[in-house]
Amino acid sequence: AQSVAQPEDQVNVAEGNPLTVKCTYSVSGNPYLFWYVQYPNRGLQFLLKYITGDNLVKGSYGFEAEFNKSQTSFHLKKPSALVSDSALYFCAVSRAGAGSYQLTFGKGTKLSVIP
């Protein structure tokens, strides 16, 4: 079975400060990891993914994430937060099964960037 944990329900950060949204995972075999963002009353939007290769993955809107195999983590980061980054962030892990790929999502972390 695969699972994702996002230990923080909410993260508050001041505009211009760096932000981190935490994610840890559990999966048998190699993990395929994703971050999605959901703005109010909208569908999820893809930010970035880790499949293989460089542990530091760069994505949309200046976000990046670092894959750490020993800590089974995939934390989302941004050097300087914007008010417009305020949203709900989901980490997800995927596995191969039944011929397709099934995403298991974390429960989400609400990011609030304070002006």
Partner: protein, 113 residues
Amino acid sequence: DTAVSQTPKYLVTQMGNDKSIKCEQNLGHDTMYWYKQDSKKFLKIMFSYNNKELIINETVPNRFSPKSPDKAHLNLHINSLELGDSAVYFCASSLREGLREQFFGPGTRLTVL
């Protein structure tokens, strides 16, 4: 152009009714999904279709039946609606190969009274 579209955006209905939600994607993807997001924002996959064939069918009541008339459409039909079915339902699509990211529709907020 909308990549993944869903209709209706809002659906309010009485318990016991039957309703459908439609989903269409114009991305040329071969895999489509239905997710349910509950009031606590928890997101769970319900179904996955690849080339019109059911791939994943999570533990979902058989009152829920997906129908895929072609690769670009995946509709969700719900019979005998219950209060607990109230949620936001998201359709998504992706390419099956290469672990490509999924593209989500805007969601359908279903309220059962």
